[in-house]
């Protein structure tokens, strides 16, 4: 492991680094041990608290919660992507009368907290919690997808569009046949990263009383007794994190594979798009 930031460590530096590693490791382990001890004093690790996981209905409720989470995320992603594509086409339209209003709408959608949109749809239109969650996710993520795809199109060499127009394609056909396929391929890592964000944001459904995974935890803790809150929460959080990490890994894998196969390679997210990949 070499880095430009420091010299290749010699024997002395390696020893110092090893000692620092051991001290650092001991400190981190000590912190963990302290946390575990504190938890143990609260009786978190008593077997009876974890015995609930031998009950099938606990797993069934967790499974239902997970199912609700995944179905909301899947539906939202399926609707948001074409909508984002459409918004992107409107956003880069040649007609200012289309471009400018779309831009305002996109800024509005991106500047609002997702949970506020969900509440707005839930209370303003009196929909069910599921519709509110999906619609809130769709509106926000469509706006973000539109910006990502736009960044992809702008990162293409100018000649692509010029060549398309030169062989007599209309502006729209050039976008659909020449530019979009390349842009989407380039932006695949950012798009998948945004899918992780979308999946994470389904947990906001907890706030608008949608029965997703976290709500299932709350319901079970209320029903079975608060002493079970920590074990159930721990398992649910582990499920959430495991799913998200696997999808993130998928994004990294696509980026690697894409940079080998795609002609221009995949583009790293533009700083402007990083916000999307932010939270």
């Amino acid at each position: 492991m070499s880095s430009v930031l420091y010299d290749v460590p010699g024997p002395k530096a390696r020893r110092v680094s090893l000692i620092a590693s051991i001290i650092g490791g001991v400190l981190i382990l000590g912190l963990l041990a302290w946390v575990v001890m504190t938890l143990a004093q609260q009786g978190i690790f008593e077997a009876r608290r974890w015995q609930i996981f031998t009950r099938a209905d606990v797993w069934r409720l967790l499974g239902n919660g997970l199912g609700s989470t995944l179905s909301a995320a899947a539906l939202a992603a399926v609707i948001a992507f074409p909508l984002g594509l459409l918004l992107c086409l409107l956003r880069i339209s040649d007609a200012a009368a289309i471009r400018v209003p779309t831009r305002v709408v996109l800024e509005f959608l991106r500047g609002m907290p997702v949970v506020l949109m969900m509440l707005f749809i839930l209370l303003g239109f009196g929909t069910s919690a599921f519709v509110a969650v999906v619609a809130g996710l769709v509106l926000y993520n469509a706006a973000v997808f539109a910006e990502i795809i736009r960044a992809g199109i702008q990162s293409l060499p100018k000649g692509q569009r010029e060549a398309g127009l030169a062989i007599g394609l209309t502006s729209f056909k050039s976008r659909m046949l020449i530019e979009l396929p390349q842009a989407i391929r380039r932006m695949m890592p950012s798009l998948v990263a945004q899918m992780v964000v979308l999946l994470k944001d389904t947990s906001l459904g907890y706030i608008v009383a949608y029965g997703e995974l976290l709500r299932a935890v709350q319901v079970m803790a209320d029903f079975l007794g608060t002493q079970y809150l920590f074990p159930i929460f721990f398992v649910a959080a582990a499920i959430y994190i495991a799913i998200n990490i696997s999808v993130s890994r998928l994004a990294v894998w696509i980026e690697r594979r894409g940079s080998k196969k795609a002609a221009g390679g995949t583009a790293k997210a533009e700083p402007d798009v990083l916000e999307a990949a932010a939270p």
Binding site: S17, Q42, G111, V115, L116, K200, L229
Partner: protein, 216 residues
């Protein structure tokens, strides 16, 4: 419209609390995030490992889970807070720090290799290379993404409203429940105050980005 004007003091109070949460968590997250990024590129393996795991786990944790942990689980297992603002600040800053660490690290990678080599060749140690040469340049290039992360932080602070902190979203929800006939107006008012924060920040990010792009 009347609902908004009547409740303007509440909106204002919520706006200030949102601002307070965002600023305090933003400062903590910037400090923690930079430290994590420094640990990520350091020669000490334990620090590198810790930073990698922290960033990987926190980045893939839904914010609601972080809030639930800080505001519901922690008090049940004996960590009591005087005010729930503290729980909100803990959740927001630990969560955002992971994203800031990633941004700063990508900034460190974007600094030309020659800079670090030059610094090392005149005999600087790792700490000096990082703090005197690399980070000042890295931070400058990552200002636009950092501002974007802070915009996300402002929006994310709305989750606190669901966990016993009366900020903009919390008041918005309260008012929406109290004024069943004017829900849309009430929530549009809340949205307006959020846009008051996020839109100027977005414009700032774009401006800075253009300036930095010219300088490089």
């Amino acid at each position: 419209m009347d609902v908004i004007i009547e409740n303007l003091p509440l909106y204002w109070e919520g706006f200030l609390r949102t601002l307070f949460l965002s600023v305090v968590s933003g400062i903590f997250a910037l400090i923690l995030g930079t430290l994590l990024a420094a640990a990520r590129v350091s020669p000490v393996a334990a620090l590198r490992g810790f930073s990698t795991v922290y960033v990987e786990v926190l980045r893939n944790t839904p914010l609601t889970i972080a809030f639930f942990f800080a505001a519901v689980v922690l008090p049940r297992i004996g960590v009591k807070f005087e005010q729930f603002e503290i729980a909100a600040i803990i959740a927001l800053s630990t969560y955002t720090a992971a994203f800031i660490a990633e941004a700063v690290r990508s900034g460190v990678n974007s600094v030309p290799v020659g800079q670090a080599e030059a610094a090392r060749s005149i005999g600087m140690k790792f700490g000096q290379v990082l703090s005197l040469i690399i980070l000042p340049q890295a931070l400058r290039t990552v200002i636009p993404p950092l501002i974007n992360i802070l915009i996300a932080l402002v929006k994310n602070s709305s989750v606190a409203g669901a966990f016993f902190v009366l900020e903009l979203f919390g008041y918005g929800r309260q008012l929406a429940n109290a004024n069943g006939d004017a829900v849309i107006t009430v929530l549009l008012g809340t949205a307006f105050f959020y846009l008051l924060l996020t839109v100027p920040l977005g414009i700032l990010a774009n401006t800075v980005e253009r300036k930095v792009a010219i300088a490089r």
